[in-house]
């Protein structure tokens, strides 16, 4: 297996606060890598560093290198980078447009005009997100009419419609009920065949269920990174042990 993303000695600062400390982490291609850790440990910050979404904060500063397919992400135009590295957010954030237009949005941004191409890609994305059956007969209704779980899958469809290489997911199920959560989890498992997925989750059990690799962050440090099997049955670090067994804080 190959590394899709590599963080080399990554430190992140907001103003004078160092949020991440020398993170070294290789993210395997076509696998799910989960990032777990207590609140405020820097999971989201790390994730948003990968598609340079943190650049929007004026006081953000990065040290170290992040490579996407061996190419430094700071050598790539951020807009192109974000097309290659899709993102799914904590709360479903469909745009206030029709279901179809939501999925087509990214395609149109890329300048694709041809109706048929767009239609094909929208259908493919919705199918891959396991949503086609549920929405194919109402593609023109407003995306807000969907349930929370469907909205989140729509957001996933929107992200994969532009054929990204990597999907970043920041607690994608934390706003969903258990039934919708398990649908999204199944979807993540299905998607990993084609995409490299980085999943930040508060829910340790979710990391356990869906990921192949797990990274445990604590106070901005990467404490342990291993296969999920190992992290949950036999972690090496005492702190990981304490965290996964819930004996923390």
């Amino acid at each position: 297996m190959a590394l899709k993303i590599e963080a080399r000695d990554v430190s992140v600062f907001f103003g004078n606060n160092q949020i991440l400390h020398n993170i070294n982490l290789g993210i395997e291609e076509r696998a799910v890598t989960a990032i777990i850790g207590p609140s405020g440990c820097g999971k989201t910050t790390f994730l948003r560093t990968l598609n340079r979404l943190n650049d929007l904060s004026s006081d953000f500063r990065l040290q170290g290198d992040i490579l996407l397919s061996n190419e430094n992400i700071y050598g790539i135009d951020p807009i192109l980078l974000r097309r290659r590295v899709g993102m799914v957010f904590q709360k479903p954030n469909p745009f206030p447009m029709s279901i179809f237009d939501n999925v087509a949005y990214g395609l149109r941004l890329q300048g694709i005009k041809d109706k048929e191409t767009i239609q094909d890609k929208v259908k493919t994305a919705l199918t891959a997100a396991g949503l086609w059956q549920e929405v194919s007969n109402r593609l023109n209704s407003n995306a807000f009419d969907l349930s929370g779980g469907q909205q989140q899958r729509l957001c996933i469809a929107r992200a994969i419609a532009v054929d990204p290489e990597v999907l970043l997911m920041d607690e994608p199920t934390s706003a969903l009920d258990p039934a919708a959560t398990s649908k999204v989890e199944e979807l993540i498992l299905a998607l990993k065949k084609n995409y490299t997925i980085v999943l930040v989750t508060h829910n340790m059990y979710q990391a356990a269920r869906v990921s192949d690799f797990t990274a445990f962050f604590l106070n901005g440090y990467l404490v342990e990174f291993d296969t999920t099997d190992t992290i949950f049955t036999n972690p090496k670090d005492e702190r990981t042990q304490r965290y996964v067994t819930g004996k923390f804080g």
Binding site: E186, A208, T228, T233
Partner: protein, 221 residues
Amino acid sequence: MLNEKISEISSLLSEMGGLVEDDIVRCVRTLVEKDPSEADSVINELEPRINALEKQIDEECLITLARYQPVAHDLRRIVAVLKIDKDLERMGDHCENIARRAKEIIKEPLLKPLIDIPRMAETAQEITRQALDSFFKEDTQLARECIDKDILVDELQEQIIRELISYVLADPSTMNKALDLIFTSKDLERISDLATNIGEETFFLVEGSDIRHLGPKDQKE
């Protein structure tokens, strides 16, 4: 996810069960057909594979518990599997014992024609198969049947021991050979006993109640 894991574990367990059944047949076949190669394959092939499977199943169960946090029926199934694979592994050990001993036994002519021991082995194998079947099919009826069959094996064993003692009394020099066969029958009795444990796990799985130490086993032994 959990379902896949469980069926993966089930198929591993079923594979292990198949190997153990095979094991029982072949270790006794060494005796019947006087073929040391059977014993060798028990010792060198089957036994390591069974051991490896036990480890693998335990590992998978552990991972499944850790990653999918099963409850209720799913959980009972995993716990039952953890118990069953241990039974199967010990059955494999007994088979290995039989095989090693058989290699010694067949170096010399047999004391008497082997009839009861193959019958014991057959019954033990049948109990094993039925017990596993009952577990996979969650069929307590079948489980009860196979547990009840254990009495047959016990009776056969007693018969064998009685008979062999009479041989030894008649000719003390057969002592060593007789002892080997007695040990063999004892191993087979253990195998069948362990197999009934599997049947008991079926009850545990299906009814959530623990019938261990309540069944016919307690009344005899």
